[in-house]
Symmetry: C2
Subunit: 200 residues, 2 copies
DNA sequence: CCGTTTCCGTAACGGTTGTTACCGTAGCAG
DNA sequence: CTGCTACGGTAACAACCGTTACGGAAACGG
């Protein structure tokens, strides 16, 4: 049984290449040949690692979710209390990493693709709801006496603010610089942290 | 000099068709043939009305901006004071019209396209900055004693929240229903309206 | 060292894209 | 009514897309 390959490594390589191509040339530039060229191989290997282009897209989408989840886990684990964790998780999503602009661009690309593809839309909803659940848990830990309604509204508002900042900054980074995003997030969180410090 | 045509009517017809196709099938489904079929003509007329596909795209983008600007003008004109105008303008952008979901989808589509197309990116920035200026003017009228920094941060936060709600609702309307969006916007505006009523 | 078997680069396929050339035709000038 | 001209429908073009078939090469078992 000769010449076995590392399937997982190939899929990761190709998913990363998909990622990069999507960040650079956007959704219309995402072709199998472009991905193959970026990965340093030919379309033959791509079609052997993934049965179809859609499977490659879905795997790359899963990779995006996995990265954000890992980063969010790390941000949460490195924080002492719930308020700090909330700030870290949301701040991490807004601008912290150095080459983070790419991730926003990729996210927007997948979002636009999800509007016309049910499978991608399903992944998007799952990922976003997972993120919402995380933020909801942290907000609830910060403000245990709030009503469920207020918790839900605050959580979804915070997430919407973060995603809005991401999207707008991806398209117009000059108008939405990193420090302004941080300040906007801090102001949005002040209602929660002030509430916590008033109780404490 | 026989058989003259109404160029403006043709361009509007084709822009509307572009709009509809973009809302239904998303960015990848936006082809000249699909636009022509939707407009009830052939690609021949499309290519006579617009020299290239990109010109058609840019014109459709301008149409999107024009619609939102007209609606924002109307919302602002129908309001008595600045606070009401601010709530109306932002509320109009978030969910008021009946078939408003299409507009969000189209907006996301153009945004994703703008990430890889400089001309579209330029239009996006111009439109967004125009909207920012409008909101900034209204916020400044509500809170004349705020510092420029606070005005800017609040304005951009409000716009980011609205766009974030739009984007997330477009992809997951079940999680972001219309009433939740309105409540989120109301809560975000409370800091301004409360400030105004405290002064008054 | 060799045979076998899996892997993957090559190249072609059908289909669709944006774009172009062409010509029938519709409508006004005279 | 007739002729001319701009309009726009038809169809073909090259380029590119995702996908497929095939053959050479590479690596393990014996």
């Amino acid at each position: 049984m000769p010449k076995q390959r590392d399937v997982q490594a190939q899929r990761d390589l190709l998913s990363n290449a998909t990622w990069q191509v999507l960040a650079e040339t956007g959704l219309p530039g995402l072709t199998l040949r472009a991905v193959a060229e970026r990965a340093g191989c030919t379309t033959g290997l791509v079609m052997h690692a993934f049965p179809t282009k859609k499977a490659l897209l879905l795997h790359a989408r899963d990779l995006l979710y996995e990265r954000t989840a890992v980063r969010a886990d790390a941000a949460e684990a490195a924080s002492a209390d719930a308020a700090g964790a909330l700030a870290a998780v949301l701040g991490q999503a807004v601008d912290l990493p150095h080459g983070h602009h790419d991730e926003s661009r990729v996210w927007v690309g997948f979002l636009a693709a999800a509007l016309a593809d049910d499978d991608l839309a399903e992944r998007h909803r799952a990922a976003n709801r997972s993120f919402l659940a995380r933020v909801h848990r942290l907000v609830a830990a910060c403000c245990p006496m709030w009503t469920d309604e207020r918790l839900e509204r605050t959580t979804k508002s915070l997430v919407a603010l973060v995603e809005g900042l991401n999207v707008l900054a991806a398209a117009d980074p000059e108008t939405y610089p990193a420090d302004l995003q941080r300040e906007a997030l801090r102001a949005a969180l002040s209602v929660i942290t002030e509430w916590g410090s008033a109780v404490r």
